[in-house]
């Protein structure tokens, strides 16, 4: 029997989709149990499996015997507006989830890069936070728990559905940002907020160094923006760099911060965006990171942001870049090669700044790896985690690169 025939016998014809462009059979299990069955079989048969969501973020090009897509895991078993929690399957698109939450007055305060239909599992497994990380923290701060399936088909629960939980070791944080190397996330328990009653965006254009100073002034003035993002001209589709400030929360808080914003920027040079303009601005910013072939993020201390932006400009060019200086997070997208990426990662490691490769075509991704330049002792731990949660090496993930 071929792999496809075995999978069809295992999960039924409905689980088999059109093959990928590289002719790798593509399978869409319809339940978490079906994912466990498939990966258990893959482990036994020695199949190598690559993981896909909606196929809009990470390129579906890893060499594999089988592509497992989570797109049929798109149910939302629970939304609890009074508890501000929800449980959703990993394959649901963020746009659909957002809509369902908004209908109940709830909000998942994340705005990851990529297209609107990117799956929840993709966002969590790659820990790709967007500008809202400034006010609401990284992706892991929005997670209460996950259920995942290991590379040998074991279903594991971690965390739960409540606000605080220290029962057992935190496997949720292993999965958030693990890029699927330690299992396939099938279910996510989320921490929500109430839909902000006020939500406004202001933008200011100028030279990068001037805007950096304004950003510092905004922080020093005691404002509490949801996002404070510095965006390169090409990415913002403006003539100059843009500092975008998003204020979201209770009307009282937003009104107070709006009043403070003019003073902080030295005379009210910030321009407010109309609601639809603001929506378009943030959406284009997110989508911009899925257009070019390579996207990565780096994280330094806030005072290093300028130096790091200079370094990126010098080594790669700064056409498409977005930074949250106060959070120390910078994301770059563009076209580059293996040598440049490896050189950049080494340079950054010397500055105590990790580089996480978020997406790239397989030849670059496989060579450079999502992770690398580990600090002392980290390599053996990561290898141990891989052996533990994917003992047969069924999951094709470019953890450290070749």
């Amino acid at each position: 029997m071929t792999i496809l025939e075995k999978v069809t016998a295992l999960l039924g014809e409905g689980a088999v989709l059109e093959p990928s462009t590289d002719r790798v059979p593509r399978v869409a299990p319809g339940s978490p149990d079906a994912v466990a069955l498939l990966l258990g079989t893959a482990h036994q048969e020695g199949w190598r499996v690559r993981i896909e969501g909606a196929g809009t973020w990470l390129q579906s090009d890893a060499p594999a015997d089988l592509a497992l897509t989570t797109r049929r895991l798109d149910r939302v078993p629970a939304i609890e507006p009074s508890d501000l929690t929800a449980t959703a399957e990993a394959g649901i698109g963020l746009d659909q989830l957002r809509q369902q939450l908004a209908d109940r007055g709830a909000w998942l305060a994340i705005d990851p890069p990529g297209l609107a239909g990117r799956t929840l599992g993709s966002i969590v497994s790659t820990a790709t936070a967007g500008p809202l990380r400034h006010g609401f923290g990284p992706i892991k701060d929005h997670l209460l728990g996950v259920t995942f399936v290991t590379g040998d088909g074991r279903m594991v629960q971690s965390g739960g559905r409540v606000m605080k939980n220290v029962a057992g070791y935190d496997l949720t944080r292993l999965q958030a940002g693990g890029f699927g190397a330690f299992g396939v996330i099938v279910l996510v328990h989320l921490r929500l907020r109430t839909l902000p009653r006020a939500d406004v965006t202001y933008v200011l254009q100028g030279a990068r160094e001037d805007l950096t100073q304004v950003g510092e002034d905004v922080a020093a003035a005691g404002l509490t923006p949801a996002a404070l993002e510095l965006v390169s001209p090409a990415l913002a589709r403006r003539e100059r760099w843009v500092l975008a400030v998003r204020l979201a929360g209770s009307p009282a808080l937003v009104a107070a911060d709006e009043a403070g914003l003019g003073a902080a920027s030295g005379g009210g040079r910030f321009a407010p965006l109309r609601a639809e303009e603001a929506h378009g601005f943030w959406m284009r910013l997110a989508e911009g990171f899925s257009v070019r072939p390579v996207t990565f993020r780096i994280g330094g201390v806030p005072t290093a942001s300028d130096e790091l932006l200079d370094l990126l400009q010098h080594q790669l060019g700064d056409e498409w870049i977005s930074a949250s200086p106060a959070a120390g997070a910078i994301r770059w997208t563009g076209d580059t090669n293996i040598d440049r990426m490896q050189r950049l990662r080494r340079t950054l490691a010397g500055l105590e700044v990790p580089l996480t490769l978020e997406r790239a075509p397989w030849p670059l991704r496989g060579a450079v790896g999502h992770f690398g330049a580990y600090r002392e002792g980290v390599g053996p731990l990561v290898a141990g985690l891989r052996r533990t949660f994917d003992p047969g090496g069924a999951l094709v993930v470019a953890t450290e690169g070749s």
């Binding site: 609890e80 507006p81 009074s82 508890d83 501000l84 929690t85 923290g137 990284p138 892991k140 290991t150 074991r154 629960q157 559905r161 409540v162 606000m163 605080k164 939980n165 220290v166 029962a167 057992g168 070791y169 935190d170 496997l171 944080r173 292993l174 940002g177 693990g178 907020r193 839909l195 009653r197 005691g222 404002l223 509490t224 209770s250 009282a252 808080l253 009104a255 107070a256 911060d257 780096i298 330094g300 201390v301 005072t303 120390g328 997070a329 105590e352 990790p354 996480t356 580990y374 600090r375 002392e376 002792g377 980290v378 731990l381 990561v382 141990g384 985690l385 533990t388 949660f389 953890t399």
Partner: protein, 460 residues
Amino acid sequence: MTYAMDGLPTHRRVPDLVVLPGTREELIAVVRLLAALGLPFVPRGAGTGLSGGALADEGAVLLVLTRLNRILQIDAKNGRAVVEPGVVNAKLGAAARPLGLQYAPDPSSQTACTIGGNVAENAGGPHCLKYGVTANHILALEVLLADGSLVEIGSPGGESWGPDLVGVFVGSEGNFGIATRITVRLTPLPRAVRTLLADFTGLRTAGEAVSAIIATGIVPAALEMMDQSCICAVEDSVYAAGYPRDAAAVLLVEIDGRNADAVVAETEVVTDLLRKSGARSVRCAATEAERERLWQGRKKAFGAMGRLSRDLVVQDAVVPRSALPYVLETIAGIAKHYGLVVSNVFHAGDGNLHPNISFDATDPGLKLRVEAASAEIMEACIAVGGTITGEHGVGIDKLRYMPLIFDAESLGAMQALRRVFDPEERVNPGKVVPVHACREWASAHPGAPPRGQPSLARAS
């Protein structure tokens, strides 16, 4: 005797040997010696934990880290500090305050507990409702593993080198190694604070007020509840805070922020909501001294309850916030059924309950009733979708409850995770995961010896 218990008086183990290293280098040397001898050991901070997690059992050596108490660096511009594990939580806060910064996690034991212990337990505290728990404030760690090797995980910027090993380590209850250097995030101090005390004639209405506040979208810095039994214990103690003794429950609500106008406006909204939800009165602390007095009563409530009788069971379950009214009534019913005094003091905004049962353990019949009531309370919390511990940790105290919330496969995964860091399971053995309930996983280290520890007695 000092080291035979932690903050929970229901568990007691006298260690065979206690070692108090004075420097990081001494600690490394001791751990490497223990590795060479194959001896288990238990890291311990100030011993204020509430799960029996820092007790040395099975012939393990107790390593007390309180002498490693230096604040190595404070970087005010970036809001970072690097500390040794024995630094007391409140001392870090005091060092940061003149710089306009705070270390936000504030467990009630913060005047004694250490940052290393906070990391091990992923400690919370009243203000974690708005600012997050310890895991949200730890950026990087130097970790000493059981084999004596050092690992650097996380980075000062918060991005990880690979998977989020800092997130995995925080809350591992000392089972993965010892954090020898800890980089924490410091956040700006709020510029305005308003503290409200609202009193209610019914537990249910107080619980409903919590849900109403959360639903507004306003995130209070803290939202704490105490029931009448707790109120009276506090008022009878030296920590008396002026809480109304005849109230069925009080809510302590704090609104803070960096914008004074916003704080005033949000306080008005919350005050109005408390009144509409049935509060008999809402009082706003007029002075800093009054605010501190209100908080002292809350933070010392656990100590005040210690006066009620010689023994105390402390629970730490978390339930969905909307279930609070039902669960509080259920707990009251269980207490009545078993003829026990249950006092509730808890982080209502998080749904994190601390039902405390005061009793005399020398009365065997009473002890059995307490155990039965404890189990029923825990089962009631789990039945509404809750969990067994929100901030105290599992330790040995809640081991028996772990199979109630995790299946054998998930417990096996946790045990396998632990073996990645500590293949011989020599750090803090016998805690967190009940091994008998696990499904066996292949060892990540094929050469690792089978479990079964040598003891200090056997090694000597």
